[in-house]
Point group: C2
Chain length 216, copies 2
Amino acid sequence: MTPRPSFKIPKIPEMTIRRLSVYTRCLLQLEEDGVKTVSSEELAERFNLNSAQVRKDLAYFGEFGVRGIGYYVSGLKAELQRILGLDREWQVALVGFGNLGSALFNYKGFAHQGFRISVIFDDDPQKAGRTVDGVPILPLRELAQEAKGRNLQIGIVAVPPAAAQAVADRLVAAGIKAILNFAPTRLKVPKDVRLQNVDLSIELETLSFYLAQVSR
Amino acid sequence: MTPRPSFKIPKIPEMTIRRLSVYTRCLLQLEEDGVKTVSSEELAERFNLNSAQVRKDLAYFGEFGVRGIGYYVSGLKAELQRILGLDREWQVALVGFGNLGSALFNYKGFAHQGFRISVIFDDDPQKAGRTVDGVPILPLRELAQEAKGRNLQIGIVAVPPAAAQAVADRLVAAGIKAILNFAPTRLKVPKDVRLQNVDLSIELETLSFYLAQVSR
DNA sequence: GTGTGATAGTGTTCCTGTTCACATGGCTCC
DNA sequence: GGAGCCATGTGAACAGGAACACTATCACAC
């Protein structure tokens, strides 16, 4: 569906990337626990996956394993972090500082993986101009300028659905190439902009569907 | 991967369900705009999908369309709402009232689709015992009892990863069959419990991966 | 009442991702 | 230094979802 731009690496399934992220988290834990090596089998059963899948996922990016041994935890962790771009700091712009926006901002899980919300945009005059934890809240019109100055690379859309497309358009115009959208709308963005949607309604309604099935 | 319990309806792809949810939202909008009928083609291009896919998705559940015309907006909307179980009210338990938990609670998008957070659980003594917007915050130990009394059907897990599995176990023990998990952990639940994960780190790291690719 | 046009429903094909199974190759122990 | 072990890496089979193309059917015009 999404025609992928031509990367060095030929054709990585989306699902592989998502699993890479999961593996990384697991390896972080294993390293903390002092585990030195881990086999694809062990890794697989933690997420009830197939061990072949784990190996194939990793093999897309190189030969990280040692036959007869498995994978060295810290080595693999470092590789995956590099592949996922977690070895650097990304400057993130958060647009919308309502309930969801402020929760995302206060959620400390991001920072420690290199995602830094360095500026917030919100047109509400009650909010714009203030500062939270040293991060300025600015009106949306300053986005283009700030994007350059702060080298913003990721935009998080946490505004009401009606405003989401307009916000996305401005993020794109400001040269941002990666958007995480929380608004329950399908945004239209150019092909070279990577869009990731998180739609809470869909998740809940999927649950609701299954409940409705069993109770029918 | 997920061995599905045997429903009346034989084999609905997960992706179909998710799209159903999207169609429903679109139909709601169309109805508001006074549109009477819509073709699979029109519906498809709003989400850049294939029209055949739209038709197939809908045909899983019956023949809702009229050849030569399309689908009647309000009729189809009602059908989809019924299929998704949105024609009734679900009682939802929110576990964890930290940043994310309270944002979810305050997010008004849920209620209007029939998802009612009727009780919150949090063991923090600062919170337990209080009431927000008429909804009680209770210690986790009261879960089992409340689940029965309030007929809770959906549990939302918004606690730190370390506590998530324990919470899930208690939700399962309390007879809850549908869990929406926001903790960045893979939870283990029995096969008859439907688990839906929302993992913000994965989404961000997917973006990060693509950014890292293009900038290499 | 009949013809025409438009669009739903569906069998088939295609393609992508998952699983299987085996051969490859490094490590260890004798 | 050689033999055996054991887990990786990978080509091939398999499965499931998406796209295509065709057929059936309905509404409306004449």
